[in-house]
């Protein structure tokens, strides 16, 4: 049986639903030593801002039960250096490149998008309105329905390419944000970004990460992520890219059943950077075994 693994995110067709999450693959060069990028659905760059960002001081990460907290603080090379130094490497691959954009002001989102949209290698944008680790922008936008609506609307008028809004789980009703994104022209949403968390050293009584709070990721957040995906899926008609603690192909299937059209692999890349390629193969085997001709038929196939 020939299994069709392809999925659509708005006008973007991916050869399979496996995407590499922003902030977990840098700009692609290191992970390409472990996994064949040409076999993946898409890769999403580390968040890019208009100017380079140094990021937060150490300690930036700490492990927690079945998860990790990070407060990298959007360290990145900036749009200009990205285009000059990072794009040439990424051009060599036949995999859709999605740029994640982070900004402190609505104008900065627009300016980044305007500059990057000129580069033909970039196939879509993921707008990061939900970074929990920076003072300006980030979550301040992600928690504000009007800001999400406005950012989506302004970025929409800056590019013809698909726009994915990366939603924060740190809200009481995520579907409202997905709806605001859809109504203002977003092609898809990705859910979820990390959950705000913290951890203390009981001897020093100091937080384990310098930023005090960080973003929780890894298998610990999977049930939360699935519930958020399901909530959006039930209430808003928009493609969802599921993210949150995926460790294997079974988790991918679960995210698709809950409503995802595609998924992003994040924390797993740190542990087993060869996993994404293997998961694609295992998904194909699963579909064959279950006689699923189109993997896209799994999306929102839940029986409640």
């Amino acid at each position: 049986m020939n299994v069709d693994l392809s999925v659509n995110i708005g006008s973007l067709t991916l050869r399979n639903p496996i995407m590499l999450a922003s902030g977990t693959v840098g700009y692609g060069n290191e992970i390409s030593e472990f996994t064949d990028l040409n076999k993946l659905g898409a890769i999403i760059t580390k968040s890019l801002s208009l100017k380079p960002r140094k990021g937060n001081p150490p300690q930036r990460i700490t492990e927690t039960p079945a998860g990790m907290l990070n407060a990298i603080g959007l360290a990145n090379v900036g749009v200009e250096v990205f285009l000059k130094e990072k794009i040439p490497f990424l051009k060599k691959f036949d995999v859709p490149l999605i740029c994640n954009i982070a900004a402190s002001t609505i104008e900065e989102y627009v300016e980044c998008t305007q500059i990057l949209t000129e580069e033909e290698t970039i196939k879509a944008f993921e707008i990061n309105i939900s970074c929990p680790n920076v003072r300006e922008g980030g979550l301040i936008f992600g928690n504000d329905l009007n800001a999400v609506a406005k950012i989506t609307d302004k970025v929409r008028s800056a590019t013809d390419k698909p726009i994915i809004i990366k939603l924060s789980p740190n809200v009481s009703y995520i579907a409202a944000f997905a709806k605001a994104a859809k109504e203002n022209g977003a092609d898809a949403v990705s859910a979820i970004n990390t959950l705000v968390g913290t951890a203390f050293n009981i001897n020093t009584r100091k937080p384990k990460i310098q930023n005090v709070t960080g973003g929780l990721s890894g298998p610990a957040i999977k049930p939360v992520a699935l519930a958020k995906v399901l909530e959006i899926s039930k209430e808003v008609e928009i493609p969802i890219i599921g993210i949150g603690g995926i460790m294997d192909w079974k988790d991918v299937v679960e995210f698709m059943i809950a409503g995802s059209s595609a998924v992003q692999i994040g924390t797993l890349n740190f542990i087993d950077p060869s996993a994404p390629g293997k998961i694609v193969k295992q998904l194909e085997e699963y579909c064959e075994k279950m006689a699923i001709e189109n993997i896209s038929s799994l999306t929102a196939s839940y029986i409640l």
Partner: protein, 253 residues
């Protein structure tokens, strides 16, 4: 860098709660340099989740040795690995020590478990350079001298060797050190490295240090292990990729 499954050959307790993990890993031993490190997945389970970074302790033919103490759940699992079981190792990672050069004497300065990278370093330099080892710890149980040569010890409580810290011990030997063409290679706690930096600047000694930082991936994608550079203030260096070995003058410590 690559991922291998290496069979465990032995777990040796060399000293009070200090272990050596011996694995067969020819792909790694044929290329790894002293000061480089490996990121070890201690279990397939989701907790502990992340790999644990260890510097290469020693290499003997196809045998790779990692030194560790039991600090938490991950190292506890590692200490109880069974002979013949396989262990998932990602590496070699980072930049090792620059052991070539026109110095005559390699001066090792190690604090506590910072001694871990130096057995392999000593093996590589043996017969090529004179090697002097200055090893310190809080108390005699913290002084690790496994497979080191020409060792001088310092303990803060005076329970073994010189009473004081290892940099004070260097100060005590300053005349002898100044009479030789030395290069210092160091690894240890941050406080030791800060004191060592002042000592090296004051005496104009060339010094490379192996640093550490909490990290997730070990090869640059998580950006979790920044270290402040003295030359480029607008961005951080990464311990995993730009280090873990740095010239002591290049980092803020």
């Amino acid at each position: 860098m690559f991922i291998i499954n290496a069979p465990v050959e032995e777990i040796i307790e060399i000293d009070h709660h200090i272990y050596l993990l011996k694995v067969n890993a020819p792909r790694i031993t044929s290329i790894i340099k002293p000061g480089q490190f490996l990121n070890v997945r201690v279990s397939e389970r989701v907790s502990p989740l992340l790999r644990r970074p260890f510097s290469v302790c020693d290499v003997d033919g196809e045998h790779l040795y990692l030194m560790f103490n039991i600090l938490g759940e991950g190292t506890n699992i590692l200490a109880h690995k069974l002979k013949g079981s396989e262990i998932d190792i990602l590496g070699p990672l980072g930049n090792g020590f620059n052991i070539d050069g026109n110095y005559k004497t390699a001066v090792i300065v190690a604090g506590g478990l910072g001694a871990a990278p130096f057995p392999y370093f000593t093996r590589k330099l043996n017969g090529k350079k004179e090697i002097l080892s200055f090893v310190g710890g809080k108390s005699k149980d913290d002084v690790l001298t496994y497979n080191l040569k020409n060792v001088k010890e310092a303990t803060e409580d005076g329970s073994r060797g010189f009473r004081g810290n290892v940099v004070q011990l260097l100060e005590k030997n300053i005349e002898s050190l100044k009479s030789k063409k030395i290069k210092i290679f160091a690894c240890g706690p941050t406080l030791m490295l800060s004191a060592l930096k002042s000592f090296c600047i004051k005496n104009d000694f060339d010094c490379e240090v192996s640093t550490e930082c909490a990290m997730a991936c070990g090869f640059g994608i998580c950006q979790g292990c920044p270290i402040e550079s003295t030359t480029e203030r607008e961005k951080y260096l990464l311990v995993c990729k730009d280090g873990p070995v740095f010239n002591i003058k290049d980092i803020v410590i």
